[in-house]
Amino acid sequence: APGGPPPPDGGEVVIACGAAEEWCAATTRAFTARTGIGSRFVRLSSGEAVARIRFGRDAPEFDVWHGGPADGYAAADRYGLLANYRSPNAAAIPAEYKDPDGTWTGVYLGVLGFCSNTAVLAAKGLVPPRSWAELLHPALRQNVGIAHPATSGTAYTALWTQVARHGGDVAAALRYMRALHPNVLQYSKSGGAPAQQVAFGEVGVSVVFSHDCVATREQGYTHLRVTFPREGTGYEVGGIALIKGARNPVSARRYVDWALTPQAQEVGQSVGSYQVPTHPAARRFGMTVILSSVTLVDYDTVAAGARKTELTRRFDAEVGKAPKP
């Protein structure tokens, strides 16, 4: 609080930020405004963040890592890069959205959904799909956009969702993907590309995080529509963690504490990032998914991460290379 004794550290916090540029800027600004503690950030994708934290561990430049998928945090933890800090505010966050050991805590949720171009679909006499099964409709041939699970976290989430949906049966999951294969235009490299494809009308529907679709529609691509599969969908958790050996440990803790408050989690939505806050008390804006309206599968982040290499290899061999009939 203003007027308190100055913290024993540098009095600022340096953040490795894994979310969108605007999200990071708004969040840090809000923190400084709230606490008076200076904050600076560098935007890094999760792999870059792990690399940078890892190779700079002798003299850490970051205090906090904020945003970006949880599997990155798990990896960083395996390298021993994160400090164990159980924030008092973390108690309010549901257990499935945080690390059991308390190394990282979830701050938002990205929920997988279908992003449809209503114009394209209407021309084919279709409506936006509401189940994984509808996605297999023959009329959607070459009209589904999805990224490659090996290169895109989004697509891997979609793949693991199939596994989860089939009760852990990998063979069944791959069978589904192979059935989907003829409908896929191409497995693009980046997770955002399918959203762009659907916006430009290259495909009729794509499998993306719902907040990406919403953000794109916000841009003015008004013919986009988000739907969710009723069989259940997967999600990604965005985390926050304290970095081991941080130079500003006190301010960093205050930052983590603040980031887990409802007010902090609402900031993203004001700048076009419509991920779902993990704090139950955080307000959801109009665009943001109401979690209760969506069926979520039982998504085991740890297991998903552990089997990623194996699964993507099998996907490559059994699905990706198959000819399209």
Partner: protein, 570 residues
């Protein structure tokens, strides 16, 4: 490598050359060798050996290796061919509108990865304006063809500028001699012009090969199912947090690059191709027969594609909603120039301006040391310099982290400060400039090597004989004669600095804003208008930079008379 001493081209190193050689060596050691060594160290661990075994037994991985090689070779060939086509039209054809063509050929030097690829999708995609609506064909550019298309287009200007300089400097009496011996234009082209330009063709080929193979951004957007090693390495870092694999991929990626380099040096080292002599004669006769029209048409066709692509980019930046609502607006541009983008634009430009002259200077200097002074040592410098682009940017960035993040101590005394991070020297800017330099040196190096091998050593000898030290001879005689190479080096370096992203991302500090990462951010969020506005601004800045460089470097010296039709001022 060249036969030392067997050749009167090559003189023993003299005292004055050593400082230059040492400076070059310091740069490549610090900028390339040390960081790469740091990464590749992990590629030699026991853990890594298992990965090699996996790699060479996995059909998928071998396919990826083959894909990579095919891509590199195709892009090398296509890019060099397009560059040569434009240079030939410019220097040898009697056709109108050459200045316009020249300007158009410069534009693709600025190719923020996202821009060209996105524009290409919009135009030539499945629902593309050209492919679908105009021609009504069922074609999409995703895959190898699209990749080659996008990469060739964005890399060919280096080849173009270098070859143009060489063509213009070449002693026309050689071509004249061939024609008086009865050789047709086509035969002169094949038996005299091409072999003499071999260094000019091989240099860009190597550069394009290396860049194509290590390029990451374009494969991410248009490669579709076409996997290449660079994206594998990238994925290992970002998807699997697996540095060892990334390093392994990089080692495998380096092998073909070094191979191509060695072949080129061996092949070119065997014959001299000096065509700029101190006894000029003859005149260039522009081709004015009907045969020029098909060639010209091809160049114009490619120019049109460039115009359309970049026109799309500009349009996208100046209209409300890309692909949907083409109402003009300056909102995106305003955001970039006066809003949140302003700082990124200023920071990036400043850093690029700092790095450009260093890169251009060192590129030429290494070329000079390698071609003229110390073929052995120079050969290694040349290789090390070229390797600066031979690995994916991410991997090099990690190398920088490993090499320069921690200060160096001997005992307790800090002998070298930390270079990476906000608390580092110059707020971390120094290392970014170094990275820029290292990534841009090869262009100047390759075109410089080509241009220098064209100069008769007598010219520098005459300067030395008249009292010039090696560096002065370099400055007053060599440099003005390889001015086009210098322009290419500087221009390309500037463009490269302004647009490079993957290396830098690992080095940026909270204090520095990088335009390309802003751009990619906007693109990822599907804010295409803003992203394309960034591209437009970037293009303008780079082209303005070209203008400034042209002013500083000066016009190319006219070394020969040109006859047969309209002559363009240079």
């Amino acid at each position: 490598m060249s036969r030392e001493g067997s050749d009167r081209r090559i003189r023993r190193p003299r005292a004055g050359v050593w400082p230059a050689a040492i400076a070059c060596a310091a740069l490549v050691l610090a900028g390339t060798v040390h960081p790469l060594g740091a990464v590749l160290g992990t590629a030699l661990s026991a853990d890594a050996l298992r990965r090699y075994a996996q790699f060479f037994t996995s059909a998928t991985d071998l396919t990826i290796l083959r894909n990579t090689l095919v891509l590199g070779v195709l892009v090398g060939l296509c890019g060099t061919a397009i560059g040569f086509l434009f240079a030939f039209v410019q220097a040898r054809l009697d056709v109108p509108g050459k200045r316009v063509l020249h300007l158009i050929a410069l534009v693709p030097v600025v190719s923020p990865p996202f821009a060209v690829a996105t524009a290409a999708v919009v135009l030539f995609g499945r629902n593309g304006l050209v492919t679908d609506r105009l021609l009504g064909i069922d074609y999409d550019i995703y895959g190898l063809d699209g990749l080659v298309f996008v990469q060739s287009l964005s890399l060919f200007p280096v080849a173009y500028l270098g070859l143009l300089g060489m063509l213009r400097a070449m002693d026309p009496s050689l071509e004249e001699a061939a024609t008086t011996l009865g050789a047709s234009r086509a035969r002169v082209f094949r038996t005299v012009l091409l072999p003499l330009l071999a260094p000019g063709l091989a240099g860009p080929f190597l550069l394009l090969f290396v860049e194509a193979v290590a390029d990451l951004a374009n494969p991410l957007v248009v490669s579709d199912d076409y996997d290449v090693l660079a994206s594998q390495a990238y994925r290992a870092v970002t998807g699997h947090y697996d540095m060892t694999s990334a390093a392994v991929y990089s080692v495998i990626l380096l092998a073909p690059s070094i191979g191509v380099f060695a072949v080129q040096r061996y092949w070119l080292g065997r014959r001299t191709r000096t065509t700029v002599t101190g006894r000029p004669s003859g005149s260039v006769r522009l081709i004015s027969g009907w045969g020029r029209w098909p060639v010209f048409a091809l160049a114009v066709f490619i120019a049109l594609i460039i115009v359309v692509l970049y026109g799309t980019v500009v349009t996208g930046g100046l209209t409300r909603l890309f692909g949907v609502d083409y109402t003009p607006t300056f909102a995106h541009l305003a955001e970039v120039l006066f809003g949140t983008g302003r700082e990124a634009v200023l920071d990036t430009t400043l850093l690029a301006v700092l790095a450009t002259p260093i890169a251009g200077f060192f590129g030429l200097l290494i070329a000079w040391v390698a071609v003229r002074r110390m073929p052995r040592l120079g050969g290694w410098l040349d290789l090390a310099g070229t390797l600066g682009v031979a690995v994916p940017g991410t991997v090099l960035g990690i190398g920088y982290l490993l090499a320069y993040h921690a200060p160096w101590y001997i005992g307790d005394a800090q002998v070298f400060p930390s270079l990476v991070g906000g608390g580092a020297v110059a707020g971390g800017a120094a290392i970014i400039v170094l990275a820029y330099v290292v990534r841009s040196v090869p262009a100047a190096l390759r075109t410089g090597t080509a241009a220098l091998s064209q100069l008769h050593p007598n010219l520098e000898e005459a300067a030395a004989d008249l009292g010039s030290g090696p560096l002065r001879a370099f400055r007053t005689v060599t440099l003005p004669l390889v001015r086009p190479a210098m322009f290419t080096g500087l221009g390309y370096a500037f463009a490269r600095c302004m647009t490079s992203v993957s290396t830098i991302v690992l080095l940026v500090t909270p204090g520095t804003e990088i335009i390309t990462s802003r751009l990619l951010g906007a693109a990822t969020n599907n804010r295409h208008g803003v992203a394309l506005a960034y591209c437009t601004v970037l293009t303008c800045i780079v082209l303005a930079g070209f203008g400034v460089i042209r002013l500083l470097v000066g016009r190319d010296a006219v070394l020969h008379r040109v006859t047969g039709g309209r002559q363009e001022r240079r």
